[in-house]
Symmetry: C2
Subunit: 112 residues, 2 copies
DNA sequence: ATCGTAGTTTGACATTCGTCGTAGTACGAC
DNA sequence: GTCGTACTACGACGAATGTCAAACTACGAT
């Protein structure tokens, strides 16, 4: 059998450092931006990343273990969504400001 | 002679990932919290950190190179201050939410 | 039962990171 | 000048991180 249920940190277990660390990476920031835009559970396969599949899996896990996203299985797909409510309650304004900044500067960009 | 003038990124050079990475570390977060509380140029020696002096220097540099703090020499002391204005302009709400969260959970803490 | 799709796990690797001690530089005071 | 204070620079070290390919598991459909 499988561990089809994924471990998520409870709200009380979410640490600021872990969240910031999770967000401080271009690939993961791209995932967060995408999830913020599409609002609902998105399968990993729908988000095109510039890295291999296993690296993608790794980044999703970092985000989940930091408490940034929620992942639930739905058949063979794994639906990802932002934990907006929890993060907003813990760190009001944090996610909003990061997402807003990410939208202004599309992904990763070179300074002028 | 000396390089008594320190390089700071211009506002346009500040990258979100670098700022988040700089903030995603307990010692650096402690420095930021301290600077936010005391408002003005604070010498490194005034902030007691749980690491050696050379490690402290390293963390100050990471913060400066990410654009989070400004450092200016004043005699032999190096005065540190938050780049609140620049960060607020670039990422409105980000610094505020991080500082607020840091104040709620003193430094680094274990989940319940 | 077979196949394909979706995602994971396991090693491996190079890079970055946080840490330290030691030696060094810059400046003010004496 | 000499001394002390404040901070830096240089290795060095182990730990963590991002990356990949290859082999694997889980599920749905045929």
């Amino acid at each position: 059998m499988s561990t089809r249920i994924l471990d998520h940190p409870s709200v009380g277990e979410i640490r600021l450092e872990a969240v910031l660390h999770a967000l401080a990476e271009p690939v993961r920031l791209e995932i967060v931006r995408f999830l913020a835009d599409s609002g609902r559970g998105v399968p990993c396969s729908e988000i095109e990343l510039a890295v291999s599949k296993s690296t993608g899996t790794h980044h999703y896990r970092v985000l989940r273990e930091a408490g940034v996203i929620r992942q639930v299985y739905h058949g063979t797909a794994k639906l990802n969504s932002l934990r907006r409510d929890d993060l907003d309650a813990l760190f009001p304004g944090l996610l909003d400001s990061v997402i807003a900044a990410t939208r202004r500067r599309p992904a990763s960009e070179a300074p002028s």
